[in-house]
């Protein structure tokens, strides 16, 4: 047997994050109860920053493979990883005060977040079905535990239970699809699978069945209709800091997973999966936008809005063109920045014993804090897709790529439901500016949170005015 020793430098970011997570676990054991988890928090942020520096430092334009071609380091992986670190850092920054108030400010929280980040890094640079599955399981396991971490709360436990049972079922379905593909191609490696598929498969029926199972698994993890039932319950039940995490970072990894599997692996049979994705995307955009109107809870409303945004992501991917993929990537990154701000705002307005997750809690925000109300206005306009915010350009790019492949009816459908969806975003703005506040409690004044929130809001506006840089990055990542 000839075995080539793997090039560990290529996988340095993963090794670094894993080592640091283990070190932080040990540091957590020795820290005193009184000082709280400040040291652990700072170390976690330093780890993410370090991983960012390593990833950027090791970046090369040509893809590198290691671990018997099961690990790939290319521009798409590096860009997604960089955003995963950044978004995770902002998530932790927003969550810090909230965690203390909710009594879940424990070492395990930070360690589980780091392991979840590790799982996502594995997913976006995996080039083997085995690794995609393992990375996904690592991520999911951390998320289940994070949702349940506030164990005295019945709502959290229920949400964690639902998430765990449905997530395990979806993982099983995904794994079954992968085993069928392995059965006909004889390989787990994504490059080898695509080579085999190029030569033509003898058993198209089995290939399609495997593909159906894999797409069901992917749709569940993305939260696309009709596999979306867990999304509102988990978003609503989880502590807001965990909702903030689940609603943002894993979407980047899910996009990476979709690209690795469907595009790197199954691009040859693009026609087969395109139809399935069209159905998923149409249902997600329609049902997500319509049901969000009926929600009185902001976390549930944002959950349904996530479902519709995932529909847009699928729209970009299903075109099967490089333009479509990069517009979907642009959309995913923009979406994570927007929902980072929106969920962060809920945390901003919460305080001990009070969750600002009802839409009426935003009444008269303009009188209480004009600057925060303005930030929320930008975020909501961006989610609705109103120019000049970046949400408009993200939707525009996806729709352009859909139109250029000749599916004008699909673009029209998406636009109609986006207009319907604009209603519930604008309702928040109406509540903030034209209603009087019922709640006059002071808003938290932590400087780091306020600065980050301002940067977050201004970024949504700034990227809308100058979208070219990020767009160019996404184009470079795909081609």
């Amino acid at each position: 047997m000839n075995f080539e020793s793997p090039n560990l430098v290529t996988a340095m970011p993963e090794i670094f994050v894993l080592s640091m997570a283990c070190i932080i676990l040990l540091v957590g054991v020795y820290q005193s109860q009184k000082s709280g988890s400040l040291v652990v928090y700072l170390l976690t942020q330093a780890t993410l920053l370090g991983a960012l520096i390593i990833t950027i430092g090791l970046h090369t334009a040509t893809p590198e493979f290691t671990f018997e071609n099961t690990y790939v380091k290319d521009t798409m992986g590096d860009v997604l990883k960089a955003f995963i670190y950044l978004v995770a850092m902002v998530c932790l920054l927003y969550s810090r005060c909230y965690l203390k108030e909710q009594n879940i400010d424990r070492t395990e929280y930070y360690v589980l977040v780091l392991f979840a980040v590790l799982g996502m890094m594995i997913m976006v640079s995996a080039h083997s079905m085995l690794l995609i599955y393992l990375g996904l399981e690592l991520l999911s396991l951390c998320l289940y535990a994070l949702v349940a971490l506030k164990r005295d709360s019945e709502v959290c436990t229920e949400a964690a239970m639902k998430y765990f049972v449905l997530g395990a079922l979806a993982s099983g379905i995904l794994l079954y699809g992968m085993s069928l593909i392995y059965g006909i191609t004889g390989s787990l490696n994504i490059l080898e699978i695509s080579e085999v598929l190029k030569m033509g498969v003898e058993m198209p029926l089995v290939l399609n069945m495997g593909l159906v199972f894999i797409i069901i698994g992917l749709a569940f993890k993305l939260g696309a209709v009709p596999f979306h039932m867990w999304v509102p319950d988990v978003y609503h039940g989880a502590p807001t800091s965990v909702t903030l995490f689940i609603g943002t970072v894993p979407k980047l990894a899910a996009f990476g997973m979709v690209m690795r599997l469907l595009v790197d692996g199954f691009e040859v049979v693009h026609v087969d999966w395109q139809t399935m994705l069209i159905v998923l995307a149409m249902l997600s955009i329609a049902i997500g936008n319509v049901i969000a109107i009926a929600q009185a809870n902001l976390k549930r409303m944002l959950a349904y809005s996530t479902i519709s945004h995932m529909g847009f992501l699928l729209l970009g991917v299903l075109t099967g063109t490089a333009d479509g993929y990069s517009s979907a990537m642009f959309y995913t990154i923009v979406y994570t920045i927007m929902s980072l701000g929106a969920f962060g705002m809920i945390i901003m307005l919460s305080r001990v014993g009070f969750e600002a997750d009802n839409i009426n809690d935003f009444k008269g925000l303009n009188d209480r804090s004009p600057w925060l109300a303005f930030m929320m206005l930008i975020l909501m306009f961006s989610m609705a897709g109103v120019p000049p915010t970046v949400g408009f350009f993200a939707k525009l790019a996806v729709l352009q790529s859909v139109v250029s492949t000749g599916m004008i009816w699909l673009a029209v459908f998406a636009v109609i439901f986006s207009v319907i969806g604009a209603f519930y975003y604008l309702r928040i703005i109406k509540l903030m500016y034209f209603d009087t506040a019922e709640d006059q409690a002071p808003i938290r004044t932590d400087l780091d949170m306020r600065i980050t929130m301002s940067v977050n809001g201004v970024m949504v506006l700034g990227l809308g005015l100058y979208p070219a840089g990020l767009m160019a990055l996404c184009y470079a990542a795909i081609s």
């Binding site: 075995f3 424990r106 594995i122 393992l134 690592l138 029926l205 069945m209």
Partner: protein, 205 residues
């Protein structure tokens, strides 16, 4: 006729009966025991497929550890079976229809027409000195080192999550502090009190 096909059919029959028993018997402890039997016969089938290492691991890990845990849980929980069986008759027709459709679809796609012996050749039989364990060992830490490490990390996360979700510190509970007990000196516990001797008749009052 060779002995192997006979063994295969015997073990398969036991496996099917045991698996059916898992979901049909009323007593959950019997169901757990049937599952153990199912694992055992499954391991026997794997040995027929020359996967000795996996077969033994299945017995050691699943029968030895997981099923013992299952039995403990089943015996410790107070499960009300009649409550679990509520609505069984109502859901049965839907369940049967869905189950039948899934079975039919899988039979069409995965039946002998696609994965039969005439489509995919019989695997080569190895000599008696062939070691399945050695083959696994030679690739586990070389070709599959990366997935192997990730699997280890997943187990670590499972440990962290299990402890984080179940460990409860109760500051109000009174506990024995053995360390302090051992280190105690006589000055801390015994106090010499000087008293004047009292007269007998005064004490009796």
């Amino acid at each position: 006729m060779e002995i192997q096909p006979i063994l295969f059919y015997v073990f398969s029959a036991i496996l099917v009966v045991a698996s059916l028993a898992v979901i049909t018997v009323k007593n959950p402890v019997y169901a757990a025991f049937s599952l153990i039997l199912a694992f055992f016969t499954c391991a026997a089938l794997w040995i027929l497929l020359e996967a000795e290492f996996l077969a033994l691991t299945l017995i050691l890990v699943y029968v030895g550890a997981v099923m013992v845990l299952f039995l403990f849980v089943v015996m410790m929980l107070d499960i009300n079976i009649s409550q679990l069986r509520e609505g069984f008759a109502r859901y049965l027709p839907v369940g049967l229809i869905v189950g039948f459709i899934i079975f039919a679809q899988m039979a069409v796609v995965l039946g002998p027409d696609t994965f039969g012996l005439d489509q995919i050749a019989d695997p080569v039989k190895h000599a008696a000195d062939y070691s399945n364990t050695k083959e696994l060992g030679s690739v586990l830490y070389t070709v599959y080192v990366y997935p192997f490490e990730i699997a280890a990390v997943i187990l670590l996360v499972a440990i962290i999550a299990a402890i984080a979700l179940t460990l409860r510190r109760r500051p109000n509970v009174k506990q024995q502090n053995i360390d302090a007990q051992v280190r105690v000196t006589k000055e801390e516990r015994v106090r010499m009190v000087k008293m004047t001797a009292d007269k007998k008749d005064e004490m009796n009052q």
